[in-house]
Symmetry: C2
Subunit: 402 residues, 2 copies
């Protein structure tokens, strides 16, 4: 005598990613227009800002204040902005999340108030998680300030905290209200961070778009010199590919197993955990790409010429192909953890040519181990060398390899 | 020179609420069928059980073990089940959430593993939050064990923790994988909890369904005597009304302001906070219903006769109409906090006849205060009287009022 009631729900999300320059110039209507889209009143906005951004843009908080003065009928600030230490460390405990929650309570913010997060991927993750879990979700405006955050982390639908020693163990799916990619923030980025962010562009080109790979390859010297036009174009194309995948692959909240956007990421995540953040996410991804590229080649899915192009692109962008942590890594465990995080069966993305991905359910472990050894030969001393020597060294090895 | 990329996402959720008896009887295929719906393998299930349920059903864990033995090709247990202290207290810090996360890590559960939560609304909330935030969401099977959880809290799409001194300050929207309402758990409930759960049935009848109100009113003495047939029927109808609202009102994740299902809840939430859980949620809701019913009557939207029916139903079910905390409550603050939690403009649900709700944007505060004083007259000593005296006293007052 079993009875049953069925529930069906359809939830619709819609948001835009804007690409501009200097959005806090009071003459720029974008931000005010975004807020007033939800009604004609002074909308309360809590700014959460990456300490690194504040350090390199000391005038930022004054500029936000000026914007408020010019748009006071639309924007009400929760003074002062909350400064959160930038970098992966802020994701490793609940200090920043608790601080944001406390501000949300003390400023009496509601589900229709805004959290505007300005920073790198880690700060966006923390602010995103805090905004998504207070009152079951405030409106989040992301203003990514790094290449990586503007072309990948900041434009997606997830947030994450590290927990139990695992990267992104904790998190939710929570699409933002809007994303604003302001190129003014890129100009102050340290070269190492600019470079690291390009790894995601290489990644998404490799799995989805050969013509974008060719663009990156052709313009690699301009990108390595941080020419604004090429950097901005690569960010725009990379973001578009990421968004297209999330929006059209049919599983934005990842109820299934495959996660093709995570090409090169299974080892990258583990390398980040092992090195406690001293390797940047983008650097770890570059190394992960190198490993899975080599594996794909040895499996006959990628030519030696294509492998060479990929390694040359990474190297010329100043990205590493190896880190000693890779040799110490328990590869089986790293693959298992990746599977756990994804859920379900193992589905590792490999390359079947440039711009063509393939999902692999079994990994040839001896071959994978041999790939790690080959990469180590490419750059045995990566961790100990100054960056300029590393680049020279890698280029030499690259040439030897062909 | 602003560029823009648009993202549109549609997320579909589908789940069923099953009503049965003794689902851990190995001959009952329901649970095994549910698991194997996601593929033919032994699915890992972490059981999280309310300490109160374990106390009144000492054979439960053995029974689950027996079910596993009979269905070992489908269900793999993470032994032993995690026992969480029942009641509102478990929502007030992260102890239980952390313990569940630790189990998820140590048993290597993934996004396609299951958390099965057996308990009252508080334990379902805690397990739901933990399941929703680990790996960005495991599959949650709710097995509500109280009337309140079976007819309301357990069948919705939310979870919540108390934080910063506010009820449900923290939480997410996270539809369950499935809900199983097993009537076997109701038989062991303390009378006070059985009664308290009926308040949500009265509530949803008042705002949505006059014929259900008439059913409750006609059968109030059978319900007060906990006759299984009437209790189960009232749970089924109440759950159906709640689910219908969530599924068809067009805003299951509450992006807008109105929250009509929260009739009587603005004062109830505050009363629960003020009394630190010594007043049960259902009792607080009954008091909140009494207050807003009286207010609706004085506003001319409800007849004296209807008010009398509502008060008689609550009273005959053994539910309170008043608590001294109501007189101490800062009503403006309570309304403001409710508004904050909902987001946006104030939208308080009032009655415009039995079965007909109306959203009110302004509250007549002097009238509301006078309503509180009138309720106090109804039952000045509610907190100090034993339950039998309370019932007698309330019936007398009820008769005096007509």
């Amino acid at each position: 005598m079993m009875r049953k009631l069925d529930q069906k729900l359809q939830i619709s999300y819609q948001f835009s990613v804007f690409f501009g320059r200097d959005v806090f110039d009071p003459r720029q209507p974008l931000l005010a227009d975004l807020l007033s889209r939800t009604g004609p009143k002074a909308h309360r906005v809590l700014y959460v800002i990456d300490s690194g951004v504040v350090a390199s843009h000391p005038g930022l908080t004054g500029k936000i204040e000026g914007y408020r003065t010019a748009h006071s009928r639309t924007m009400e600030l929760c003074d002062p902005p909350l400064i959160v230490p930038g970098g992966e460390g802020c994701k490793s405990d609940f200090t920043a999340v608790d601080a944001i929650h406390e501000r949300i309570r003390s400023h009496r913010l509601c589900r229709q108030s805004f959290v505007a997060a300005i920073g790198g991927g880690a700060v966006l993750d923390v602010a995103g998680y805090a905004a998504a879990t207070a009152h079951r979700g405030l409106r989040l405006i992301r203003m990514p300030t790094t290449v990586l955050a503007q072309n990948d982390a900041g434009i997606g639908v997830k947030n994450g905290l590290n927990g139990m020693g695992r990267k992104n163990f904790i998190g939710t799916f929570a699409p933002p209200f809007a994303v604003i990619n302001d190129s003014i923030f890129l100009s102050s980025l340290p070269p190492r961070h600019l470079r690291a962010g390009m790894a995601e562009a290489v990644k998404v080109a490799l799995i989805k778009d050969k013509s974008f790979f060719n663009y990156l390859y052709t313009n690699r010297h301009q990108l390595a010199a941080f020419e604004p036009e090429e950097v901005e174009e690569s960010i725009h194309r990379c973001a578009a590919l990421h968004m297209d995948h999330i929006g059209t692959a049919g599983d934005p909240f990842e109820f299934g197993s495959a996660r093709p956007l995570d090409f090169g990421h299974w080892s990258a995540h583990r390398l980040e955990e092992m090195t406690a953040g001293s390797v940047l996410h983008g650097e770890a991804v570059a190394i992960g790409i190198a490993l899975d590229t080599l594996y794909s080649m040895h499996k006959g899915m990628l030519s030696e010429y294509e492998r060479g192009q990929i390694f040359r692109l990474l190297t010329d962008l100043g990205l590493p192909l190896y880190h000693p942590g890779l040799a110490e890594m328990d590869l089986t465990q790293a693959l298992n953890r990746f599977q756990e995080h994804l859920g379900g069966d193992l589905a590792v993305t490999m390359l079947n040519g440039i711009g063509r991905k393939v999902e692999v359910a079994r990994i040839d472990l001896p071959l994978l181990e041999s790939c790690v050894r080959q990469l180590a030969l490419l750059d045995p001393d990566y961790a100990n060398l100054p960056i300029s020597d590393r680049l020279t060294g890698m280029r030499q090895f690259q040439e030897e390899l062909g």
